[in-house]
Symmetry: C2
Subunit: 413 residues, 2 copies
């Protein structure tokens, strides 16, 4: 099938899927999880072939790590699907009912988006995760994973699709693009009328390529240049705890801090201690002149550092003259993902919450909480860094749209 045919098939199935009951979708997900577990040998064997080919091509070790599955990871995928099955159903609930003076009742009802296109890179577990979230939310999906994971993704999709269809999910609702040519992906991004929204999941390069090429609406996810700002009145022990956590607890993720800003009046009281703690955790410090003088072992930051998402044990550090300079710095160099202030001053706390224009703004807590699970959504399809449709962590509700249903008795206008 061509990519257009895949999408047409998904669209056709989506109308039927949209009117399945939550029970049908949940039961199917539980059976799909069992089928995945039962197919572990086939999945691991397909994955071993993918890994072998990738190694022959000499890709980076970190890439091989993301690509590689084992028993535990397959179990993790199955458990993830079961967990999604148990979440609250996002479909059918009513956002509001307006009664027009003429008596018609206008109800705003949550319905599936329709067909979701997901474009991702090496991790084969995204395949199971994306299928689970789409089926749960009544959406058909067209998946396009990285070419290196094709055998793994194909096996996972086949197993899940079989179990889905046997359990009442319309055939066609789960589609994987097996032609991983770039031209086919480009064609997929322009299937307006067949795919309702594209969600790219991966690095900045992938996401920008989708944003630039797609004519279908895109939800941009991911890139995070997050800041922690230590204000004049901060509890400096708390500040040290927060920056260590925000930088070191998982440096590869988008909600990790990349830049520390410190008010000049407390720099000498906290930067030496922070340098010691972070250096002990293996963090490289890239500093402006004033910070460098207070942080032993640090090196000079370049202009580029202030807008770099390291995704690594590297932190840029700058001493600012004022609260306002901190806000301006965040606005200028940040990606408006997650930014935190550590302060005891209520005015600065409120100003930070109001004036820093990021998806998540924190007072006295680590930026690492920007996450669907931590926000109580039970699942996460990604973290939107754009402003339309969804902003911040996206859960099941963000995979829905609305429809207005209007009940009358002959009203005309």
């Amino acid at each position: 099938m061509t990519v257009r045919e895949l999408a047409q098939s998904a669209k056709k199935a989506s109308s039927k899927l949209a009117i399945t009951s939550a029970k049908t979708r949940n039961d199917a997900l539980l059976s799909m999880a069992d089928a995945l577990l039962a197919a572990t040998p086939a999945i691991l064997s397909a994955n071993a072939a993918d890994v072998q080919k990738a190694k022959e091509r000499g890709v980076k070790t970190s890439y091989i790590d993301r690509l590689t599955l084992d028993h535990k990871r397959v179990e993790g995928m199955a458990n993830g699907m079961k967990k999604v099955a148990l979440l609250h159903d996002p479909i059918g609930k009513s956002d509001s009912v307006i009664v027009h003076p003429n008596g018609i009742r206008i109800e705003k009802r949550r319905v599936p988006l329709g067909v979701i296109g997901i474009i991702y890179e090496a991790r084969p577990n995204v395949t199971a995760d994306a299928i689970a979230l789409c089926i749960k939310s009544g959406n058909a999906c067209v998946l396009r994973g990285g070419s290196e994971a094709l055998l793994s993704n194909s096996t996972i999709t086949d197993v899940l699709n079989d179990a889905a269809v046997k359990n009442g999910i319309p055939d066609g609702a789960i589609q994987l693009l097996r032609d991983t040519d770039r031209a086919t992906a480009a064609e997929m991004m322009k299937l307006n009328g067949l795919i309702d929204v594209l969600i790219p999941r991966g690095g900045a390069g992938l996401i920008q390529s989708v944003v630039q090429q797609a004519t279908i609406p895109v939800i941009e996810t991911g890139s995070g240049v997050c800041h922690v700002y230590i204000d004049e009145t901060a509890d400096l022990d708390m500040a040290a705890d927060i920056i260590e956590n925000a930088k070191c607890s998982r440096p590869s993720v988008c909600n990790a801090a990349e830049t520390l800003l410190v008010h000049q009046s407390v720099a000498k009281d906290c930067l030496p201690q922070i340098a010691q703690r972070l250096t002990a955790r293996g963090v490289e410090l890239r500093c402006d002149a004033r910070a460098k003088a207070l942080m032993p072992g640090s090196i000079d930051a370049t202009e580029e550092d202030w807008s770099t998402e390291y995704n690594d044990l590297i932190l840029s550090v700058k001493v600012v003259d004022s609260f306002d300079e901190a806000i301006t710095h965040i606005d200028t160099y940040g990606t408006h993902h997650s930014d935190a202030i550590v302060t005891r001053d209520i005015n600065n706390a409120e100003r930070f919450l109001n004036e820093v224009n990021s998806a998540a703004v924190y007072v006295n807590a680590s930026t690492r909480f920007t996450d669907g699970e931590e926000f109580g959504f039970g699942a996460e399809i990604g973290i939107s860094t754009q402003k339309i449709h969804a902003r911040g962590p996206m859960g099941l509700d963000e995979l829905t749209t609305v429809k207005y249903t209007i009940r009358g008795s002959g009203q005309i206008r």
Copy 2:
């Protein structure tokens, strides 16, 4: 200023505008409306020059109608702005507060989108309308109107901007692109990072051009191939009232009906009467063979008719064998804007509401109610026919996004 400079200026102003109080924005809107009225002579004189030039270029009469302003239209624009000032403020309200087990409070708060780009055609009143809705919702705007209306749009923008700045709206928040070259519009559509969303307002050609060219997120509005389906059990008098209203009350708008579908079992009981009523209103009827035999004076419909938005006193009519055929027809040829069933059968009513996948689905009421005013929003920026961010009529809430504000006391993950 280049379009990039205009957008940079808007973006800079948007941060300040986002934290103005509702009172500041509302008071400014009232003063802006007064300034508009006071500037009526200048606006009408600029408009007369635009109209003169357009006439010399020999554009269509309907186009001249849309372009032309008079005292009453300027008054209408001013009154529209005052009305917007009095609406409920969409900014700052809390959608939800989640308390994490560790005690951090995660609040989802409504904030402005930032900078909204609006691309439109001949109507100069869109200028005042768009500025009012953007300022009300705390958004800066970059407007790009049709070249034929440039003098009118420039005068209106200058008057409103002057009054806005004098009343506490940050300078730069209201921008009009005065270079109406196509290349400049194309550049505007790719200003990611400066303009947050584009809303095209106009005909299908304009909208598709924006969807195809833009790399900024777009909210697609407008095109409506709307259906009325007369079911087997319909009250046929009600059905005739509804189709007459849906077709004739304002044929140029997107929520007007373009196609009538009739169940075969009631076709002979209602189509002759409907033909008589519609013909008396000047409607041209384009029918399939069975409908044609029952509708005197009608002509043959072509395949193209079923997917045509006439925006005119023309209606396509088809007799269907079943409820299911009606749903399939709507799904195949419609634009999923607004569709209605006339029925006494509760099962078919519910099935229609559930299975017809349109922004607005009606039981026993005219499609003409799909409108921000009718839905109680108080204002309308357009009717979204896409699924992400907004679907159906968009009011002030649809000009906002969310931000998560998180208050902690040192929590780390």
